[in-house]
Symmetry: C4
Subunit: 354 residues, 4 copies
């Protein structure tokens, strides 16, 4: 498998389509309902104009950012995505290594085909790596949940990312039409110890602010919450003491016509007022998107589908190349916008649509 | 006839096109003029963004709503549509049964091919059914009109829906181009007793606020008015004492370029101020549309063409399946938006376009 | 030649294309530059929403309007268009008769192939006809200009329409690409007595406010000015004493990217404040467009290309049918909007875009 | 090579595509990233409406403008573009001559295949020529830079245009995909004396406000700065004493999603307040675009790609014809908008989008 001839992150979709089973492709590429939010996520970044500065000293630029109490090479993370062994035999292990090699963050999905321990062992001591986090939900067994966080801590993970916005899978019409079923040979190894839910469990497992408080008290790793769109929720999460908030609509995969994350981000930044770091995902494809996200108040961005496609198209080299492309684009954008560091990026650099 | 492979309400249109006479299809699918309002109805729901809440207890959700003094399983009604025997031999009888089976409301059009009495007998005692109403106009014979309402009451109907917005048929270009004529073998059984209009009748039968007052005084069933778009009219109707107002542009079939009902609804809600229940129709295709309508102040929504198409495509099973799909989508949307009940849905959940 | 199967005014374009020389078609159909204003004229009417009223007594409606001191059956005029003998052997004579038969106004272009006297004789005594006007420019010979107005008066014309907005022909790319040249066998009979311009004439004949003052003083017929888009010009024209102002961008044929006339109309209505009647043209295709124009302050509307196309497609019967279609649509729109007369149409009936 | 059948500036693109090597075409035609700014540049001019005046004395119009202390026939300049020998054997010499013959300004790119001295000798004494300027960057050798300005002055150039906005080439995906490499047989003759950068040079040569101050102090020609989009930068440049500011996003070739220059221009005009002349480029294709730019505060406009394409399509005659077409369109637009001179064009003539 050789590095693909992709020139930008868009290119990986077509390359992956050639290699993936059609139903798997639709599972990855598709969104909920009429895929309005999926499209709006992209469009919202494009709709933000850049108003660059000139005659700044950008002979060198530095995309480093602080997050979770440390400094990382750049603000790009690979988003948590399930079933990566659909795309490559080594699945999440391949992705995590590629991310680490590029200084990018990596969020292992609880629905991974590779164990927390294996990923930790591969990545934790990689020099120059980005942050490493475990994505999880709260299940019907709080003992299991706490043990999961402990396994992550023991494996060298830096944080837990608690997903709040997928209490239901949403109405994923494209996926249903394609008839996607999880692959036969892949086990969700990290959830293997979880007993089946009790017969009287409610259809949508309840997770409330009290559950979040419990996790924040019990978990020894910093806890990020992912899937916040409403400013009031962001404010409450900040007051609850989360380590960071990921502004996200789950890549348009759950509640169609949810607002684009690029539109939610500035409102949440206004509500939270700098007390809690923000991350954002949804539609990030270009270095300019990353710069805009940072200018709107994000400390980091998560990228999903393009990296999944890169993994399918060209394996770990593909993921690494995609991350490199995006970082290169970000640094070019910084040079051209007159930002020596990302701390210089603010809304003054933007023309926001009404 | 078996249930169709539809995944969402859009799908029934293509399925119905295969089975319907082309002129009948155009009669059902088409709108007035350049079909701008027809398109705007859809676009206006899509243009409203959802700003969902997280960490609410949505382990179970309940889509029940109160309307006409009772509580119903969910807020979806089948809109009044003429000539349903074009779509299925049992016409409105098939539709009414399917709606009742799914707990949905049903509005029998006065231009039905099945009698008020037959529909009432089929549906009135169906357990878990939704509200049952008769749609009518005022004709040149007020004795006939009052008798019609009495027949409905005797047959177990819950309400009368008085259509205000189709004094003329509008300029239905698609229908005229297709050369649609009402089907030969179908009789409008409920209007059979109506004598022909007198020779000196005006071209557009006058129906004014005084006529509405007469009906409100004479009719023993609650009277809803359908086809209100102007806030001042809504205010006056509320003061006149109607049981509810259906915000509607007749599915874009009468006055083209009328504003989309999703745009009219919040203005009317502001004008009426909660004194009178509101319903809305026009372009509702998704559970998220229903949730948005409720968040904007509607107690229920009417769905038209997709259910007609479902009847044509798969008979009563098709109608039932379509209603089930929509209700499922609504409940998923409630879960994902953080609404345990529909009373929790308000404008705070929405990003309204300018 | 028989009446065409057109169902609305759009339909005549395709019908005419079959019968016209391609270069002539492009001359008629085309606009200036990139045809942005041509498209914007249509789009601007469509972008205005109607907010209809219900329960008004519209058992009969009356589209009559007052203009030029008289009352006319309805507010539609046929716009001045040159070279109508391209479309039909009887050219402007055919159009004028058809307009009169339908109670529509008719504006004879100075660049007609039929004489003022012939048109006057055909139309002046037609019962129920609409207003009859002569369109002209000011030329390099004021004696000739005055004589032209006198000929119109003698022939029974009601008014002069002075065109202000075509000092140059504009950059009509489509027309140039098609290689249109005026037809060989047609003479501009009304301009035949005009001597060629002097050798030292300026490239763009000067016409200023002083020239307008001269005409207003010298001409015994009411003078309308056509081609006003700027509110300040409208104000000055009203103060100068014109009989009416035609808000127009010359059908998008002169200065491309000029604002749509439907956008200019309300601003001009605000500036003029009801002191001087307003007319409007540009993109009027539907009865709802006419109703919107009246609601925005117009006393009448001019329709151009569709009537030219109707003349080419089906001769005078085509023009008559097109005018009838438009009037029918207007009356249907009045019924559905709740307007017994056009004086009841105001901005309260509209949802204006930002 | 004969003059091409182009009717407007758009036409040269298709004509050039037939004659250019595909990679060279993509190099010229392409923009950065997803080419959003490239498209926005055009769309932004189109989105500005004209509100023309009537009854002005436009029997003759004069497009002359003052700039750099002199009066020029009209406000159109040919923008600096590299590698013009890709399009024609005589490259920039052909373009410069054509521009001079049409009274247009000409900016020689430092990356030209023809020497400063050759261009100066061809053009400096051409009667009726427009302004002649040399575009340059600051390099790692300030002695070389100053010598370059001296060579320009000695060759009769009127000004230096310092490019500020291409510290990096940007992410030019189309160019990379096409595999463009600079042509083998062409030497950048004006940069031939520049030693290679030192081994420890930073990746993006630093150019700051201090460097600008140095050039403004050292250079004996007026210095224009090109590539300003932020009002604060424009203000600072004006205070620094630049001769003029070129509002530009480099034709969409560097930082994609930068705001359209037509949107940046009025904000910069407001910030600078008339103290320093403004020029603008990006998407100018029509005489109406030029008129709008002037009405928004520009003293001149630069046109790029269409003239490059005209050079490829029809050599110097093509460039001359394109400039003539644009000037003709400008003069027609002035006539139709009621502007005898360009000093009469102000924002009052425009309908600006929100």
């Amino acid at each position: 498998m050789t590095a693909s001839p992709a020139i930008n992150l868009h290119d990986y979709e077509a390359l992956a389509r050639e290699r993936l089973d059609p139903a798997a492709f639709d599972y990855i590429a598709g969104g909920a309902g009429d895929e309005r939010t999926l499209a709006a996520n992209r469009a919202a970044w494009d709709a933000i104009g850049l108003v660059p500065r000139v005659l700044c000293d950008v002979s060198t630029v530095d995309a480093a950012v602080a997050c979770l109490g440390r400094r990382w090479p750049h603000p790009v993370w690979m988003a948590p995505m399930a079933w990566q062994r659909l795309a490559h035999p080594h699945g999440e292990a391949a992705s995590a290594l590629a991310a680490a090699a590029q200084g990018a963050g990596f969020v292992l999905a609880e629905q991974a085909g590779v164990s927390i321990e294996e990923v930790g062992a591969l990545v934790r001591d990689e020099p120059g790596r980005g942050p490493l986090a475990l994505q999880m939900r709260l299940h019907h067994d709080r003992g299991f949940d706490l043990a999961l966080t402990e396994r992550a801590r023991a494996a060298g993970f830096d944080a837990i990312v608690l997903t709040l916005d997928s209490v239901s899978n949403g109405a994923r019409d494209r996926e249903r039409r394609a008839g996607f079923v999880p692959p036969a040979g892949v086990t969700l190894v990290n959830l293997a110890g979880l007993a089946p839910p009790p017969a009287d469990a409610p259809p949508h497992p309840a997770m409330t602010w009290r559950d979040l408080d419990w996790l924040l008290g019990a978990c020894k790793l910093p806890v990020l919450v992912k899937g916040v769109l409403h400013p009031a929720d962001a404010k409450q999460a900040a007051q609850a003491g989360v380590a960071a908030i990921v502004v996200s609509n789950h890549g348009g995969r759950t509640l169609d016509t949810s607002i684009a994350s690029a539109r939610a981000l500035p409102r949440i930044a206004d509500a939270v007022g700098g007390t809690t770091p923000l991350l954002v995902d949804g539609g990030i494809r270009r270095g300019t998107d990353v710069l805009k996200a940072v200018a709107l108040g994000a400390s980091a961005v998560l990228v999903g589908r393009p990296l999944y496609f890169a993994l399918a198209a060209a394996g770990p080299q593909g993921v690494a190349q995609a991350l490199r492309l995006l970082r290169d684009e970000l640094e070019i954008a910084m040079v051209l916008a007159g930002c020596q560091t990302l701390s210089q990026a603010s809304r003054d650099l933007l023309e926001l649509p009404p």
